[in-house]
């Protein structure tokens, strides 16, 4: 009897829920987030403020970025009376969610986008609005023409660059001082000397610099571009011959041979691989690896993970050759308006507010050093810019003289494990290649293939 009652109760419950779903299904078929069904649950009713609005925006990031956006949006609402609903989360899985939303015309009105999304999801210009059409609302003159060009895909300015980023050296000067070196390394010879000093004064486990597979690829590109004075890829064609690439691989190997960087075998044994970045290793935390070659925007993470962060210093870019400075910067992220946005003018106002206007002073350097001149000025005036990141960013931007090729970071090349860069530099460091020419051939073929794939679309 008890069981019969239980079953009947369950049945009634399910019918009730079904009925509820039926009515909400029909009423919310158009706009999914409207609060037509708000009375069914107290939690939604109490908070309709952030649930629905005139505009919507999405971004990914960590806690501090979430807070910065929320404060900036609150200020925007106060200034304009436009309500903005939000959607935010961490990076992992974010692109899956975003791509699904973009393909089904479900995406938020304003989106924080990765630079490669522009060509990847909107290569034909169908997903994002041409911001040139809103130049009366958004002050485009605050942005350098080169970065606007980088965001122009399919003839449309599909996003505005929030910030630019590039790679630079960071040093843990506490360890350098222990090794008897007072100055940050500024030349290749300084690096070799540091390797020698670390080995003799501190021991075999200490290295002035640690480079993973992808770091090696980036540093080699800096080296080659500086030595040969030509971009890595231009017009979707690799500009370097196998012989030239081999000299780059030899250069990386010379760092390993001179005790400047640990071999990848040593690093893997220390637990550093594709899943665990250098900042999570005991060797970095305790200062045994005293340098990295990282994005300027990652400075705080590496600084924060040090047991004793007092020696963390922004280094200088090193000019390896005499033909050019070498290296590149890239648009780290942008803000875009989706074609499905109902009120594009309000969205343009929001972007202008966040990048050029008062919003920039609240956002500070949360999304990197602002690319907009007025945005950077406002952020600096408000004291919301991380000095360390600003110093690194300024040095990178003043140094690099090449453009990044969009295919450079494609997953086929960059993935760890399995990408071409990983296989070539990992294989060479592990001694799986007979000579650098063989490794260079693999790299050449891999990059050429990726470029051909990209050209096919």
């Amino acid at each position: 009897m008890k069981k019969a009652i239980a079953l009947a109760l369950a049945g009634v419950m399910s019918v009730g829920l079904l009925a509820g779903c039926g009515s909400s299904g029909s009423s919310s078929s158009g706009a999914a987030s409207e609060s037509a069904t708000g009375e069914t649950s107290a939690t939604t009713a109490s908070d309709s403020g952030s649930g629905s609005g005139d505009l919507s925006i999405s971004w990914w990031g960590g806690d501090s970025r979430h807070t910065a956006y929320q404060n900036a949006l609150a200020a925007f609402t106060e200034e304009t009376g436009i309500q903005v609903s939000t959607h935010y989360g961490a990076w992992s899985g974010w692109e899956d969610q975003t791509s699904a939303a973009l393909y089904s015309d479900n995406a938020e009105d304003v989106m924080q986008v990765n630079w490669n999304w522009l060509s990847q999801y909107s290569g034909d210009g169908s997903k994002f609005v041409d911001l040139n059409e809103y130049s009366d609302i958004i002050d485009l003159s605050q942005f350098p023409q080169s970065t606007l060009d980088a965001c122009t895909v399919a003839g449309k300015l599909q996003a505005l660059p929030v910030s630019m980023t590039g790679r630079i050296f960071y040093w843990n000067m506490n360890t350098f001082k222990q090794a008897g070196i007072e100055e940050v390394p500024s030349t290749l010879d300084d690096l070799y000397a540091a390797g020698e000093a670390f080995k003799t004064n501190l021991g075999d486990d200490y290295y002035p610099l640690a480079l993973g597979e992808y770091d090696r690829m980036l540093l080699m590109t800096f080296y080659l571009e500086s030595t040969y004075g030509k971009p890595w890829v231009e017009d979707n064609t690799l500009q370097y011959t196998v012989e030239e690439i081999a000299t780059g691989i030899d250069f990386i190997q010379s760092l390993e041979d001179n005790h400047v960087i640990p071999s990848l075998q040593t690093m893997n044994a220390a637990g550093i691989d594709g899943n665990n970045s250098i900042d999570k290793s005991e060797q970095w935390i305790n200062g045994m690896y005293a340098g990295i070659f990282e994005w300027d925007s990652s400075a705080t993470k590496y600084q924060g993970s040090l047991a004793d962060p007092s020696g963390f210093t922004v280094g200088n870019e090193i000019k390896f050759g005499d033909k050019a400075n070498g290296g590149f910067s890239k648009v780290s992220m942008g803000l875009a308006i989706t074609e499905t946005c109902q009120d594009k003018e309000a969205a343009a106002k929001l972007i202008n507010f966040l990048l050029n206007g008062d919003g920039a002073s609240i956002m500070g350097s949360e999304c990197g050093i602002p690319n907009s001149a007025s945005g950077l000025a406002a952020a600096e005036a408000a004291g919301a810019v991380d000095e360390l990141v600003l110093e690194a960013n300024t040095k990178v931007m003043a140094f690099v003289d090449f453009q990044l090729d969009p295919t450079y970071e494609s997953n086929d090349l960059k993935a760890n494990p399995g990408g071409v860069y990983t296989d070539v530099f990992g294989g060479y460091s592990y001694g799986e290649y007979a000579d650098s020419t063989e490794a260079a051939t693999d790299l050449y073929d891999g990059v050429t293939e990726a470029l051909e794939d990209a050209a096919k679309g």
Binding site: K3, A4, A10, M13, S14, L18, G20, C21, S24, S28, S29, A31, A32, S33, T37, T40, S41, T43, T44, D47, S50, G51, S58, W60, G61, G62, D63, S64, R65, H66, T67, Q70, N71, A74, S85, T86, H87, Y88, G89, W91, S92, G93, D96, Q97, A100, A101, S104, N106, S277, S281, E282, I285, N286, S298, T300, K301, G304, S305, L306, A307
Partner: protein
């Protein structure tokens, strides 16, 4: 040398049995212990020490875990509420719909049954990743994306979509003798009554297992809520835990671990509570059988 007494030998054997069990058990449970210890550590200590007792214990992780509220959008308690508001219907409907589907497959002969059964089994091998995009598009046409009632997350379970459970229940039902059904039908039971009077009680351990698995999987599901819940106030626990895990800027692991630990407490309670029912069921069956 006099031969050892039998009792002494037993004691020694018992000692070694327990010794091995305790050592292996400790190795198995150590990661969980380490996680508990790590909730009291700083980042630097988490990555540099394997011991689970923190040298400079801090409560910051727990304080941050329960106070972080993202500008009033979402906090840990609301995330709990959100999670269970779709997990509980999901579990109930999964069990009910799977039992009905399994009953059909195991007790009734109808045209195309074997073909349908093999089609159903074949979906067992279909990875969820393949389904994500078509499902997303389908729910989008229904207008269910970001539904305040989490419709895309639990409505499918009304239709016995969890093949694994249906398959498991079919196997269990096959082991229940048909004689019981026949005896019941002689006593005047219809097919529905046979299901809930005769079959369900005998299936109860397996039903508990289905419910348990579904409960854990649903609580841990990250991709589903990520795709279908886009309003921060409606985020469930699995999303909330990850909200601050940003690879670019770094974050305090002790907070994430504290949050994870708090978030699995209800699951642990449910698991231990259900474990009794689970074992009772098995024991009862064995005596009768």
């Amino acid at each position: 040398m006099t031969p050892m007494k039998l009792e002494t030998r037993h004691k020694i054997a018992r000692f070694f049995q327990y010794f091995v069990l305790i050592v292996v058990g400790f190795v198995m449970i150590y990661p969980l212990l380490w996680m508990i210890g790590a909730t009291f550590k700083s980042n630097a200590e988490i990555f540099t020490s394997i011991g689970f007792i923190p040298t400079n214990p801090t409560l910051d992780g727990y304080i941050a875990a329960v106070t972080q509220n993202y500008g009033g959008d979402i906090n840990i308690w609301r995330a709990f509420l959100n999670t269970y508001s779709y997990v509980i219907p999901k579990v109930i409907f999964t069990v009910i719909s799977s039992v009905i589907a399994a009953y059909g497959f195991s007790r009734f002969k109808f045209k195309g049954r074997d073909v349908l059964f093999s089609i159903m089994i074949s979906t067992l091998f279909l990875p969820q990743v393949v389904l994500n995009v078509p499902q997303y598009l389908m729910y989008n046409t229904f207008g269910w994306i970001n539904s305040p009632l989490y419709l895309p997350l639990w409505v499918p379970t009304l239709f016995a979509t969890e093949t694994y459970f249906v398959y498991q229940l079919v196997q269990f039902m096959r082991s229940i003798p048909h004689d019981l059904d026949e005896a019941a039908s002689i006593d005047g039971c219809g097919p529905v009554k046979i299901l809930y009077k005769i079959i369900c009680p005998m299936l109860s351990p397996s039903l508990v297992a289905c419910g348990l698995f579904q409960f854990m999987w649903s609580c841990n599901d990250f991709m589903g809520p990520l795709l279908y819940v886009t309003t921060p106030t409606k985020y469930p626990m699995s999303i909330f835990v990850k909200l601050s895990m940003d690879g670019d800027t770094g974050f305090n692991w002790n907070r994430i671990l504290a949050l994870s630990l708090i978030s699995i407490i209800p699951q642990l309670i449910v698991f231990f509570a259900a474990q009794d029912a689970f074992i009772d069921g098995i024991a009862a069956g064995s005596v009768k059988g």
